[in-house]
Symmetry: C2
Subunit: 343 residues, 2 copies
């Protein structure tokens, strides 16, 4: 099938601070459009790439996490939605649409195909949703809310980074569960989306609050039963003082701490004891047995118009470095996706 030009995004070197565009390199390389005989590999054309906060962890020289770092000088990896071009794997045929770990480039040779999922095309659902609503972030929201938060009807739920890829679904699932839901976000535009489009009971811009403890007390005079934590840091500390007895904190992300080598101290952990709080970190990958029921549930809700999903789509692989970096300043509005090619 021959060799073609292959746009790529590489990591220049390990970082210690928040990611900058200059930490990444855009270049036009070459790709061989074939698959080694008997390799079980597939060659894909990447259509959509997902920008996710956890990727910052892979840009550090830190080997103790649940996922190894990227290699300096190598193409970034991330979740993507791609079309199979060539295959030596009996489970995949040219033309199949797949989601899973792929490279930040136009064409990728995928050697590890165990986690690759075939995607059923459904005209009523945008393809890119398989990276968000129906992908890892959506499943994170689903597993975290139902499996970690132990929600009950009528409970008071707080979601930080609430308009993000995960938060927007958590809030909607909580509403469908009969909870009272308040979200925080970093701009008035996002607050408006939470209240007017996503159906949150209330929302606030945390950047405009000088006293987070007081702000939470205002929005939750009765206290918080469930905190779905996407940010960590000062917000988590403030939430701990506003939890109700028997409350639960699902620790999903620590985006506020991503640029900080020496993380902020938390001072209110005694609340765990006084309020008998359960605080639990989780990864969606520990709940993969629930993925099929997640898909059934969310596809059904979506088709019934009970949930919506907001994406922030940029065009072209050239835009990928800025899109990824923008996550850490909250520039994206909704799930950040890069469109490499529409087909």
């Amino acid at each position: 099938m021959g060799e073609v030009a292959n746009k790529q995004v590489l990591l220049r070197g390990f970082i210690t601070a928040s990611p900058r565009e200059t930490d990444l390199e855009f270049r036009v390389g070459r790709a061989e459009l074939g698959v080694p005989d008997g390799s079980k590999a597939v060659l894909v054309k990447n259509l959509y790439l997902s920008c996710d906060p956890y990727m910052r962890g892979r840009m550090r020289e830190y080997y103790n996490s649940y996922i190894p770092p990227f290699q300096p000088g190598s193409v970034l990896e991330g979740f993507g939605l791609a079309k199979v071009v060539a295959s030596e794997n009996p489970h995949f045929r040219p033309g199949d649409l797949v989601s899973g770990m792929t490279g930040w480039e136009e064409y990728s040779l995928i050697l590890k195909t165990e986690q690759l999922r075939k995607v059923q095309v459904d005209e009523k659902i945008p393809l890119s949703y398989h990276l968000g609503l129906l992908g890892m972030p959506g499943f994170t929201a689903y597993a975290g809310f139902y499996e970690v938060c132990s929600p009950k009807k009528g409970e008071f739920v707080f979601v930080s980074a609430a308009s993000g890829a995960v938060g927007q679904l958590v809030g909607q699932l909580a509403k469908l569960h009969g909870c009272y839901v308040v979200g925080s976000a970093g701009s008035q535009q996002k607050v408006d989306i939470l209240k007017n489009k996503l159906g949150f009971d209330d929302a606030f811009n945390y950047k405009e609050e000088v006293d987070l403890v007081a702000a939470l007390k205002r929005y939750f005079p009765q206290g918080i039963d469930i905190y779905f934590d996407n940010v960590g840091g000062a917000m988590l500390d403030a939430v701990l003082l506003n939890m109700r007895v028997g409350g639960r904190v699902a620790v999903c992300g620590v985006i506020s701490q991503h640029g900080i080598s020496d993380p902020e101290g938390l001072h209110n952990l005694s609340s765990l004891l006084f309020k008998r709080i359960r605080m639990q970190g989780f990864l969606q990958s520990d709940y993969l047995h629930l993925f099929p029921q997640f898909l059934d549930c969310i596809v059904e809700y979506y088709k019934q118009g009970k949930i919506i999903y907001i994406e922030d789509m940029t065009e072209g692989l050239e835009s990928a470095p800025a899109a990824l970096v923008g996550l850490f300043s909250g520039r994206n509005v909704g799930k950040q996706v890069v469109c490499v090619s529409r087909e």
Copy 2:
């Protein structure tokens, strides 16, 4: 029955720092040895009083805890083992031995009898054990270990304040469960007790370790599955960096923070996410339905010689202020009890 002299210990005023003996007042008051007609109250003679770290919380002017503060100028309250002298309550008769909340004095009129438990005398078990091994601290260990820690055979368990009223039982239960158990304590004497009397696999004096993270790495090269936390603060922060994936932290006490108005910051909460750790605060009072099975289990273990219990007993109510204050500098060796009268 008339009026008699009644030794008492009172709180002088609310405190903000660690408790000192001068915060408490010993005096000889008077007691009326009768019960108001139709009151359902009982009058008891206190035999043993329990000194527990949670009592420090009741010495502060803080109303948001699970238990209200003591009243300045009033007699302290705490768990005690007492003999009924007079009763207007059909469930209790003169001569009965009872355990429950009583006053720090020789004779107490107990109006709220709902939580009072009749104690079965068993010649093989010291009466004072109903304040420790068979009382609130023992039950805290039992409920915390079995209900909060979700222990599995072969897991690596770390207990802080391990020779204390709760810790010594947690460690022994963990050993009986087939776990590997290491404890920390604040003196060589306590370390020796942990290793030589209580059957811990290993133990160390935290005061002699300059780097707690490194110390824990030495004692748990494979990491920690379960941390039974009696102290909070810097030790908890160090443990978080040494936890294994899927680990559990039971937050039972924060004795390291009792004297501090502005608690130490915790910096390693990100481990909750990376290691998918569940961290849970609990109170034994949330598990009272398990109390009968706890008693059956622990009495059986004790009679079989499978567990032992170490008490630090002081004589006379006059010694009570020093005994309580000593908890916060770790002066006690084992469960601190005050003997007011042997019968």
